[in-house]
Symmetry: C2
Subunit: 306 residues, 2 copies
């Protein structure tokens, strides 16, 4: 099965209490692709400028990601983001955003990408997400991420896009904001009523919760001694989650969805241990499986004795 | 086995977006006692004034709580707290505090209470907690709760008290504040290094995490359609947690601690469904066991297929 992701490809400058990087590979589509690549064939769609070179392609190719649909805009520059995190690491503070080629991005998908069975619309303007959705067959599933900005300025468009996908991944605060409903359970059900059958509420350091028609599942974040750089954690989670589902015959089975949540959490936990893509780009399947089992041990609850 | 709790007995006036109560039974020792009473014999120690009457005793006796060590201060008035919650229900805003008899509280324990096998020091001034601790045998375990105020103004005393107990229950923010350590994992280990073998980080709507020497376990809060009044949730959690442990032969076994976390979460989830003690005072063991099983189904993660 193959999985297409459409989103940003970026250079990030990040400062955290534990270090800094002046220019590192980033962007939602990049973090997603690398994470998903451990489970399925991945194609990445997004724009880059002249400053995007061999070193950056090498990171993606190193994980077997298909980059044929990366659009090189002649004379342009790649999306650039500069941000920093305070001591608690929970909030990214943006210091500079240069949209560059991403500002004029009109996704163009090859025939191969249009025919992919599975699709992920990373956080881009919801009209664009819908244009992509309508070009793609996505015969198995389509998922999306979004952000508070689009809920504020393009709520109706976002709701329309949500009605055309199967899975929605948002922060819990965004789910509440979208529905104006303080109970996360009722809020998730409201989003489900728009069309999708799977809602994932990302909860940062508290992990993530999964809502389906009949089920609820929640997983803490993996307990780490040090989080070095949270940038890309959400996209890595999404990549692990949808990448694993893409590899499953019955992606809607509750057991598959729960394992997907766990793989998502595993990859996200590795992602934040170092800066940018540094850790995930040299991650092994063995390390993933080890941490998956650690998660299982950490969350196992035996029945009460009779 | 019996479990003694020392803490506040109060009248609360609470307003939430879903309703209000002008005067209801509350206080940490009350919520704790009711929750623990489903699992073990409970004795409650705390001061009340002339305004504490038959109706209030009836709630405690209705759950079989031993009230012989409730100290009636002649001519005094019971501790009174008035607060409200905003729409998100995460933060209690205090509008009025009248310490009344609680301001002069010097815990006096009967011989029966001193001989109890298990002890919980609810959130009171840490010097007082230590005085109680030193009077009690607590041959099995002693636990404590505290708050940001004591971390700010009585840090050394609190640390000394912590060194004399086996279990510490605090909000995650308080654990970080106490240790000045942003990684909750490292922070929990630092508290453990002070003496206790079990640290529970309470995380409000995200549930709770358990840290032991070799283990980590986390449980989400039970997903509820409506939270009516969060007052007492933390104390109900503590009561379910220590109450269950009090009933277990090997309270230090990882499986016992995990089940205790779950019972704590179960009782807390019932507590917040209505105001004050309303829901827990008519709760049944059958309802508890049902929700325990629901928790197990909600958190079960099957191994990945080979």
């Amino acid at each position: 099965m193959s999985l297409v992701v459409v989103g940003s490809i970026a250079f990030d400058a990040v400062t955290t209490p534990f270090g800094e990087r002046e220019r590192m590979l980033g962007g939602s589509a990049v973090h997603f692709s690398l994470a998903a690549s451990f489970f399925t064939d991945v194609r990445v769609v997004g724009p880059v400028g002249d400053d995007f070179g061999e070193d950056e392609y090498a990171v993606l190719h190193g994980r077997g990601v298909n980059t044929e649909d990366i659009e090189h805009v002649e004379g342009g520059r790649t999306f650039f983001w500069r941000g920093h995190y305070e001591y608690d690491l929970n909030t990214a503070h943006t210091d500079d955003t240069q949209l560059n080629v991403f500002g004029e991005f009109k996704p163009k998908l090859s025939e191969e990408s249009k025919r992919a069975e599975n699709l992920f619309l990373a956080n881009i303007q919801p009209d664009l997400q819908r244009e992509v959705r309508e070009q793609c067959h996505a015969t198995r599933f389509a998922g999306l991420d979004s952000m508070n900005l689009w809920i504020e300025i393009a709520r109706d468009s976002l709701k329309q896009t949500i009605s055309q996908v199967d899975l929605v991944l948002l922060n819990d605060a965004e789910i509440r904001m979208l529905t104006e409903q303080p109970s996360l359970l009722l809020a998730a059900r409201e989003v489900m009523a728009m069309g999708p059958r799977v809602i994932v509420a990302k909860q940062g350091e508290y992990g993530a919760a999964l809502y389906t028609e009949n089920g609820f599942f929640a997983l803490p974040a993996f307990p780490l001694e040090r989080v070095m750089d949270p940038t890309g954690a959400g996209d890595s989670f999404a990549g692990g989650f949808l990448g694993y589902l893409s590899s499953q015959e019955d992606w809607t089975a509750e057991a598959s969805l729960r394992r997907a949540m766990t793989y998502g959490s595993v990859i996200a936990s590795f992602n934040v241990e170092e800066f940018g893509t540094e850790r995930v780009s040299r991650l092994t399947r063995e390390e993933i499986d080890e941490r998956f089992e650690a998660f299982r041990r950490m969350t196992t609850l035996e029945a009460a004795p009779a």
